[in-house]
Symmetry: C3
Subunit: 674 residues, 3 copies
């Protein structure tokens, strides 16, 4: 592999869209700005294979050679998102079918169905040809499979191949149609089927929520298999890390998707309004693989699929945004795109350079990023994020809330971020976001809001054991109130909660209007919202009780703490308002002996860094240095204060601190302990 | 028939969805809560007929036997809303076709077209089989045909059978296509047809409003015939009363629907925000049949087709809601449902018990209802609601406002409720809501707002005669401005109003912005909204005149009273604002000698009760008691005062009153005159 | 031609919808109200040709004869918008296909595709038959082709004939498919095609913006050809002026449409809220043809396709609205419609008479209009609007903003009106609105906002020459940033701006949140919005510079003036706020020596009138009078003041003024210089 060392600062580059005469100037300009990696190839199938079976990689070798000579690394994309017209024309039934029966057309992206046998065959062939050509090219430091491969329209494809896969999925899951009828209660509404072939796709009728969930799972697995197929081919030809670039938006099982892959690749276009939300995904991505993730796409200034969104960004936003992945466990920031397209879709999307080849207003900040990445490269490469706090995120739960909403208007993603994740950030904590498959042993505290089902492998047992061994588990509301298929229990509300803790569940109900009032044991008001589960107050366990709202629930407990083995379980019966969530976090941190409240304000995030551990993937390549510290990023542009008592040097500015540290708007500090 | 006497407190029960082992516990629990009736069977076609022509009623006999033994009555539903997959598979063209050409799928309810000959044949067969089995079962105290049989998507089915029926309907109505062209002015836009077969269904083009209206009528009649067909079969086997459970939402002609039926069955899911609106339907339902109606469905706490709506209900809401049908002329309150489904659709809908078998927060209120129904059973059964005030409601007018809106944004239902019905309630009156076919002779006062056509049989003549005999008719705005087909008159605005009263119409126009100002004769301001008709002020007849807004209408009358024979006609040229509507009601009540203003506040409803009349259906079964009184229900939760001068005992509390009576939030008083 | 002289006051009349017995009364009433022209025939195809090839014009002759005898002129409409059912039945594939594949039905209007060969054949035949019958009828003073012929659903028809035309259009434009691929950069997303036949229609996939634009052009040309075909036939039989009635809403190229036509016909239904916006269209229409335009449709009171919109209009609104076209260069105001339909669509639309034959509240204002048109006929006919200020409007640019939005939320039409046109009106100016083909030589000042492309024929050269000869050009933002195909330049942002002026472009970016602050050279704050282009401040050229918002743009110029030859170019880098736009207009008027600020308030419009020029179309028919003056119309109902120094007589009131003139709400003054 060519000697391009992380951290990577990159951009997407589409030489196929430009005159050859622009190439040298573009590369010169990349060097001048400080770009050390480019992503190429992802949509260029037709240029690689202009006619069925006729391949032309000459142009791609030319540009790869030029980049290699310039010392710029290449991430090579497989072009399967954009099959050429000769292929769609040959197999018109490979086009994705929408829910309403309409069929996608050639002209955008991802219009081919991942279940179509001929599309799969042709995809395999172009991937293999590409891999053969570039698998051992020293310029190629990584591979990207396809691009943003999500369920079409967030609903999936409804073509006959997808129908067949779905019915096969049901057959595999339930064995017999009778078993499916029984487990999903298909006697209801006389829905029961006599054959799997009769099960309709979830189109526009009033759908069964459990079948709809299975359809989403089946549709997601089609993509997962498609990616795995490509990964299998690539591995025959290359040692460079392989990934697929995605935004983790509900739907797909990311653990399953990444099983055959080497590196998590992630795209985002967050803005000043919601940059903090993006931290959640970074906190999640670093837990999926041992290897630092790559932020494969983000905007330099504004994004625009059709018409720009928002306004000119504040000073420093591009800089802070570019640093965020590195602060939170990644090793690459790449912009989409190097140079705005001169024609076609997304014509006004921001880039490093404008389509005219001139700089954009944010280009200088990109230069600053390049300079400071270089300064901090050693520290970044030799340390990792380390924390003992985690929060659960589950794509299955996310899907379940979509297929069977519990409270009207409630969205899993939004509430998780706003009501749980943001208060954790504001308390100066750095949570790992973990899925249901993650190992819990490294954590002292785990938050599990809205884990509507825990019926996932041995998860219940693992949680129970972890608590008994000393874990502090904050769970609820809505913990484990569904089976894996999304059905309810006929003899209890919660799968395991009462058994584990001795809590006695009473009622559940929505509360969108804040009819219910509650109080902490100390007499302070407690605010909850949206949804409630109430419990018989357990002796000494109750922390918050209902004080008013309805005769039937007055005095019931809404938040209780139970000692379980060496650990604690906090059962949360509602979604706390912000100040009460922070009060709860403080209580929990006390239980677990975790320092809390290290920041002032609600704008700053803290990322503690410890040395790369013995045995970790990168260890061999690093020196014996035992560096540690903390990275601060102001993500909301309001600035903040870090309550510091240690001695740190900011590698970027060179400044040394021994006391509280003030951080300006969109400033970044890479503080190494000295 | 088994000895279960009204009032009925019931719930929908779906034994087909539960393990047999749950049945005994469920029945025990019903007895403990106080349920005396359950509705079963309505969606269980497949369980009754698992394969074409193979019937299994064993399970249904078992549960019916158990219920009979427990002293719980059964309302047996015909399962035609949910044809099994083997039937839809055999006749795929029986699926409902939507306006846009999409076809419903198996997986919800009412996906079969009521016009499909084979669906009708199979429906008849299952109904007959069911009736044979249970027609003489002593447990079965009533029958319910199908469930909530409305026009698909509020628009109707567009399949070829429905098209044929629609064209047949036109042929029957107009005789020749030339006559249709002429009467509907189809020269306009060169629309005229040469054959009925050419008339398109009203899909997504700019439709002719009159043809669209006929389509709605034809679609409604398909359902009416379907229900009548089932009623005909059931009557061969049972003496128990037969109905079909509905929400009276526009569309269908309820008088025609109920002609072959015995009892009106009604479902509603109103909430604290709109419980008062539901009173209008109860006031309507009791006028359709001599027999007390059944409230077949309402929620114990929250409803949820997908995700719960709203919040926990206030204390007492379930109690007041449960009493409302009984107060207003019904004899049954039934909850949907007994126990929340453990899987499938509507998974979080409130019920008497949660799917876990545990009580919900509202269960105690259900118990209170059972206890108090029992206390008041005699009084309820031996008295009826009696009033001399009525208000017109017309499904034809409702349809006409949908197919040819008059003023943008105006909705018939909403304005009728808000601008006419609520002020009547607030004045302490108890109006009968009557359709165009109702006899007027028992009323002293009739309000007829928005009766856009009176071209319905002999209605005009009957109204005129009733007024001449002393009736007080408050009519308008928009009275009789269309023929039965929805066309306008070419020589006048109103069909009969000028002739009847001598009023001289001048202009009509919209006024959504309150540009027009008017004054009462006494100089007070009068507020009108949305729409105006103005008249030449008649000598001594004018009450309200336009004072400002536009030169052309200044001085015109907006509200006039005309003496006609022994009666009066109030012509109302606009929609009065609340305070002015109340002032008008007071004037009218003076004319008619009706006491007005019996309540204080806007939360309480009053239902006067007089002895069941000689000759009425129930008489034979009742004692000779001559009981009377009044039932008060606080429907808005704000409490109120009843201005009382008589001596009453509240049967529920035992308290005796001789003076003003204060009623707390969601309280009910059953006051018997003593 | 019959002796009906302009100005015309007319109405649409549909004798085919009424009983013959109503005709004489209707015509009498027309005379009494003062109507001198009626439009007939436009939707009566079936009445003219009841069966294929059987024609009946007897009824139309009868009514035309009666009108001629009454001295009322006729505008005869061709009925091609409403093919009869026998035709659609014969060729069902002539029905328009929507984007989503759904096909329009018989029952509304314009359901036939302008590209269908048989529809064209039958259209030609009915037009020829009608022209033969009435081509030399003295009553017929004009012809109207079809009615409001726009792209179906604003998107066009997607049938196979339209597909073929579109592909033919591409072939004609690009020659080879390779050239199309190259010029539109179809390598992007591997979109490139191997044959024109493969290019999909722009339905519901993520579409290529350039291809979508070509589709809109092709769809517009289908209509243009259809109109031209009819005009060709009509010209063989008539000397009366021919037009087609339209609302100029984006989309079609109006210059191309009107090439074969004689008179511009225009429909509008503006209300008190937006009557001023309508002035823009009138200012545009008078520039398209030498002959005064006709306002073929407007409402007397309220309009209503389904349900009335809005409220009763203020006193005088109908009067002012009726005068507006005459003030701004037209010679006809016609109402839609004479008498409201008694059945069918648009049943509650306002008219001169109600369907009952009675007057509506606005009828008296129509009488006033007739009286005052007569008083002012000589002045109107002998003068024309004259101005030296113009503003560009381009249907191509309008389409381009739709197919490739630049800033999210920005709409070309709305911003043009609000941010540029209204300030011009408020400064008392009377701009001509001109398209890209218009001659510039008569103007001293031209505003060109949002002219996203100037790549239209020799437009760039003509502008440059005009400036060098002394023109004052205010251009931007977004001037010439696209080629005619909508692609960007790869070496510059603006096609010609830097070359012409020496300006040095730096950055462009959106600003929907007003993050950017700027200042005039005099230190006053300058407000811009939505979008920015910034420039290196040129020596002495800068007027407005960025003062804050983002480090990278501080100090950049946003508004600069460059001397070019004898003229000036103002480059505007953003959309100025209202006060700043007015300040700019004042500066510009100073440069050009144009009086500015003649009105007070924001409600009044000013239309300067000069004698009809020698050689103009109407000259021969007019006397030698050399009349001039100004017409004032209060369009917003708030009244205003005209800062007058000349001596004028108001022809309507007879009043004489030598000083400032106050104009009341919705008042009109026709001031002749004396």
């Amino acid at each position: 592999m060519m000697e391009v060392r992380p951290p990577y600062l990159g951009a997407a580059y589409y030489p196929e869209d430009w005159d050859e005469s622009e190439e040298d100037r573009d590369i010169e300009k990349m060097l001048s700005v400080g770009i050390n990696v480019v992503r190429i190839g992802e949509f260029a199938w037709r240029k690689m294979e202009p006619r069925d079976g006729e391949f032309d990689f000459g142009w791609l070798h030319r540009i790869t050679d030029k980049l290699r000579n310039a010392g710029i690394g290449v991430i090579m994309g497989t072009p399967t998102a954009t099959p050429p017209i000769w292929l769609t024309k040959k197999y018109p039934d490979m086009l994705v079918e929408f829910k309403n029966g309409r069929v996608m057309q050639h002209s955008g992206r991802r219009h081919a169905c991942s279940n179509h046998p001929e599309y799969l065959k042709y995809s395999a062939r172009i991937v293999e040809m590409l891999a053969r050509e570039f698998g051992s090219d020293q310029a190629v430091i990584g591979w990207q499979i396809d691009n943003e491969i999500y369920l079409a329209n967030n609903e999936g494809c409804f073509c006959k191949n997808c129908a067949a896969r779905y019915r096969g999925h049901l057959r595999k899951k339930f064995g017999t149609v009778g078993e499916m009828n029984r487990r999903l209660n298909l006697n209801l509404f006389s829905q029961a089927y006599d054959s799997f072939d009769e099960v309709p796709l979830p189109r526009d009728t009033w759908e069964n929520p459990h079948l709809k969930q299975e359809f989403l799972i089946s549709a997601g697995e089609a993509h997962i298999d498609f990616v795995a197929m490509q990964a299998g081919i690539l591995k025959k030809y290359t040692k460079a890390p392989i990934g697929t670039d995605q935004m983790p938006l509900g739907g797909m099982n990311y653990r399953q998707l990444h099983a055959p892959l080497d590196v998590v690749q992630f795209n985002h276009y967050n803005t000043p309004d919601d940059l903090w939300e993006c931290c959640l995904w970074f906190d999640y991505l670093r837990t999926l693989k041992d290897r630092p993730f790559w932020n494969t796409e983000t905007a330099t200034c504004f994004s625009a699929s059709t018409g720009t969104h928002g306004s000119i960004k504040p000073d420093g936003f591009c800089y802070a945004n570019s640093w965020l992945p590195l602060a939170l466990g990644g090793e690459a920031t790449m912009y989409w795109l190097w140079r705005t397209h001169w024609a076609g879709h997304e014509l006004v999307h921001g880039a490093v350079l404008d389509s005219s080849g001139r700089e954009m207003y944010s280009t200088q900040e990109v230069r600053d990023v390049a300079r400071d990445f270089a300064k901090c490269a050693g520290f970044i490469n030799e340390t990792v994020v380390d924390t003992s706090v985690a929060m659960h995120y589950s794509s299955l739960c996310c899907n379940m809330f979509e297929t069977q909403p519990i409270v009207g208007g409630f969205r899993y993603d939004g509430s998780l971020k706003k009501h749980f994740y943001k208060p954790l950030l504001d308390c100066g904590l750095r949570p790992d976001i973990i899925d249901e498959g993650a190992d819990l042993s490294k954590y002292r505290v785990v938050f599990s809001p809205f884990m509507i089902t825990l019926d996932q492998g041995d998860l219940r047992e693992r949680i129970a054991e972890w608590v008994r061994n000393g874990g502090v588990w904050i769970t609820g509301p809505m913990t484990d109130i569904r089976s894996a298929e999304g059905t309810r229990y006929t003899d209890r509300l919660h799968g395991m909660l009462e058994t584990l803790t001795g809590a006695a569940f009473k009622y559940w109900f929505p509360d969108n209007e804040k009819r219910i009032s509650s109080k902490w044991r100390d007499g302070e008001d407690f605010g909850g919202n949206t949804y409630y589960e109430t419990f018989e107050p357990a002796d000494g366990a109750d922390i918050v009780n209902v004080s008013a709202g309805h005769r039937a629930v007055c005095g019931d407990a809404v938040l209780q703490r139970f000692a379980v083995g060496k650990g604690f379980v906090y059962i949360l019966g509602t979604i706390p308002d912000e100040k009460d969530m922070k009060k709860l976090i403080t209580l929990v941190c006390d239980d677990a002996g975790i320092p809390c409240g290290l920041t002032e304000g609600d704008s700053l995030i803290v990322s503690p860094r410890t040395p790369v551990k013995a045995g970790s993937a990168d260890e061999g390549q690093l020196g014996g240095a035992d560096r540690s510290g903390v990275i601060l990023v102001d993500v909301c542009g309001r600035g903040g204060k870090y309550r510091n008592k240690a001695k740190y040097r900011d590698i970027i500015s060179g400044e040394v601190f021994e006391d509280d540290i003030k951080v300006g708007p969109y400033k970044v500090m890479v503080l190494e302990k000295i």
